[in-house]
C-alpha cells in the first residue's frame, strides 16, 4: 500500500466526530509519537489510531473501529 498522510487518517474518524475534532486528535497523536504528517506507513497509521483509541468516549471507539478497517485493507 502507498504511504499515508494526515488527511487519510482524519477521514477515517471524521464521519463520527467531524473533521475538526478528528484532525486535532490525529495531529496530537502524531506529535506524541514523533511521526511526520506525510509519508506514513500502515504500521505508523495503526500506531496513531491506537494512540487515539485510548481516548474515552466516541473518539476512542471511532479510532478502534477505524483501526480494524485499516488493518483489513492490507489483506
Amino acid at each position: 500500500m502507498s504511504s499515508l498522510g494526515v488527511d487519510q487518517i482524519v477521514k477515517l474518524l471524521s464521519a463520527s466526530v467531524g473533521e475538526r475534532a478528528a484532525r486535532e486528535a490525529v495531529l496530537s497523536a502524531l506529535s506524541r509519537l514523533a511521526l511526520p504528517p506525510q509519508g506514513l506507513s500502515q504500521d505508523d497509521a495503526l500506531r496513531v489510531l491506537e494512540a487515539i483509541a485510548k481516548t474515552p468516549g466516541v473518539l476512542g471507539i471511532s479510532a478502534r473501529f477505524a483501526k480494524s478497517r485499516l488493518h483489513l485493507l492490507e489483506v
Binding site: 477521514k11 477515517l12 474518524l13 471524521s14 464521519a15 463520527s16 466526530v17 467531524g18 473533521e19 475538526r20 475534532a21 486535532e24 486528535a25 481516548t55 468516549g57 466516541v58 473518539l59 471507539i61 471511532s62 478502534r64 473501529f65 477505524a66 480494524s68 478497517r69 483489513l72
Partner: protein
C-alpha cells in the same frame, strides 16, 4: 423461495393490539412460517406485554423489537399504536439481548452477539439489525461497537428506541424479553443482499461553533460560551421569521418546536453528520444523542418539510439500488421522531410516498436516533434521518 413480507398495525390496549397484530400477520403469511418478526410499540401498548404475545404466536421465528416515539406501516402512521412485520423466505436469523449498556457497553454488545454464528453455509450475506436504548446517550458508540464486533462485511441498520417523548425509559425486545438500558442485535443471513439507504434533509444555518467543554454527550460550552446561549444566538433570526420563542418551550415541546428543527451538524468533508440536541440542562449545557468530544466543530442546521419529505424517498431509492436489480418484498424503516413533528399533517403522505416508491409493504417506527452503516462507512448513527432496510423478493 420468494420472500414474503407482511406488515401489520394496531391500536387499542396491549392485549387487543397483540391479538390484532397476530391476526393480521397470520392472514398475510398464510401457511408460511416467518423466520423474523419485528414489533414496534408505543408506551400505551407496553413492549413487555406485546412481545411475549407475538413470540407465543410465532415461536419458531426470531422476534426483535423496540418501544417507539410513533409507529407506522403501509397506510398507517400513529402515535399510541403498534406496528409489526413478519418475514418468511430464504433467511436464517440469530439474535441476542445485551443488558447494562450505560455501565459497560462493550460487555452488553458481547452478551448480545456472543452466541451468534459468524457465517452460515449457503447464505453468503449477513446484515445486522440493532435496537438500542434511546436514552443512553451512546448511539454512535453502540453502533460502532456492534459494527466492530460483527465485522467489516456486515452492513448494520436499526434505531434507538423511543418512549413517546416522555424521556423516562425506552425498551428493546428479544423474543419474549423486553428490557431497558439494553440493546438487541440480530444477524440476518440471506442468499441475496438486503438494501440499505439513509438520507437526512438538513442544511447548515450557522458558521461552525467549537465544543470547548464537554463530558460525554453533554456539551457545556461552545466557543467558550454556555452552549444554550450560542444556540439561541445562532437561531435568533430564523426563529423570529418562524415566530418560534425557545424561551417559552420546555420538555417535548422544546424538542418538537425548536431543537428538532435546529439540530447540530458536524462537518465531515463534503457532508454533515446530524446530531440531535435532546435537552437543555442546568447552567446552559445541552445534552446530545451521543458523545460530542471537545474540539468538535458543529454547525446549527435547519430543515424544511420539503427537504424532509424528499429525503425519505431518496433513502428508499438508495435501498432499492442496494438490492442489485432485485425487486423489494418489503422494508423496515427507521425514521426520526422529529421528522414526523416537522412534517406534521404531511407525515402520513410522506410514509405513503415512501411506500409507493418502494412498491412493497413497509413497517417501522419513529426513533430517538437512526442506525445505518454500509460496508465502507466509518460512522453509522444518525438523527432526523430516514433509514430504509429493503428485503429482496
Amino acid at each position: 423461495m420468494e420472500t414474503l413480507f407482511v406488515s401489520a398495525h394496531a391500536v387499542g390496549d396491549a392485549d387487543a393490539a397483540s391479538a390484532s397484530l397476530i391476526a393480521q400477520l397470520r392472514a398475510g403469511l398464510g401457511p408460511q412460517a416467518p423466520v423474523l418478526v419485528t414489533v414496534f410499540c408505543s408506551t400505551e401498548q407496553p413492549l413487555e406485554r406485546v412481545a411475549p404475545a407475538l413470540r407465543a404466536a410465532f415461536p419458531t421465528a426470531t422476534l426483535v423489537g423496540a418501544s417507539t416515539a410513533g409507529e407506522f406501516s403501509s397506510g398507517h402512521a400513529t402515535a399510541g399504536g403498534s406496528s409489526a412485520a413478519a418475514i418468511a423466505g430464504d433467511f436464517v436469523v440469530h439474535a441476542g439481548l445485551g443488558r447494562g449498556v450505560r455501565a459497560d457497553l462493550e460487555a452488553a454488545v458481547e452478551q448480545a452477539v456472543a452466541s451468534q454464528p459468524e457465517s452460515i453455509e449457503g447464505f453468503s450475506h449477513r446484515t445486522g439489525l440493532l435496537f438500542v436504548d434511546g436514552l443512553s446517550g451512546l448511539g454512535e458508540e453502540a453502533t460502532l461497537t456492534v459494527a466492530l464486533r460483527l465485522g467489516a462485511a456486515t452492513p448494520l441498520a436499526g434505531g434507538a428506541a423511543g418512549d413517546d417523548m416522555h424521556f423516562r425509559a425506552t425498551y428493546v425486545a428479544y423474543n419474549e424479553t423486553a428490557a431497558t438500558d439494553a440493546l438487541v442485535v440480530a444477524s440476518i443471513f440471506s442468499k441475496k443482499a438486503l438494501g440499505l439507504g439513509v438520507k437526512h434533509g438538513h442544511v447548515p444555518l450557522s458558521k461552525p461553533l467549537i465544543v470547548t467543554r464537554s463530558e460525554g454527550n453533554v456539551v457545556h460550552t461552545l466557543d467558550g460560551r454556555p452552549a444554550w446561549d450560542a444556540w439561541i444566538e445562532a437561531t435568533r433570526d430564523s426563529c423570529e421569521a418562524r415566530k418560534i420563542d425557545p424561551a417559552s418551550l420546555s420538555g417535548p415541546a422544546l424538542i418538537n418546536g425548536f431543537l428538532g428543527i435546529y439540530e447540530a451538524g458536524l462537518p465531515t468533508g463534503a457532508e454533515f453528520k446530524v446530531r440531535l440536541p435532546m435537552a437543555r440542562l442546568e447552567g446552559g449545557a445541552m445534552a446530545f444523542s451521543c458523545g460530542m468530544p471537545e474540539g468538535t466543530a458543529v454547525c446549527v442546521m435547519d430543515t424544511t418539510p420539503e427537504q424532509l419529505r424528499s429525503s425519505a424517498d431518496t433513502a428508499v431509492d438508495a435501498a432499492l439500488a442496494g438490492l442489485g436489480g432485485e425487486r423489494a418484498a418489503g422494508a423496515l424503516v427507521f425514521d426520526c421522531r422529529n421528522r414526523k413533528d416537522l412534517l406534521a399533517s404531511g407525515y402520513p403522505d410522506a410514509i405513503g410516498s415512501a411506500a409507493k416508491t418502494l412498491g412493497a409493504p413497509l413497517a417501522g417506527f419513529q426513533c430517538y436516533g437512526e442506525i445505518a452503516m454500509n460496508t465502507g462507512d466509518f460512522s453509522g448513527y444518525h438523527n432526523t434521518t430516514a433509514v430504509v432496510l429493503a428485503f429482496p423478493r
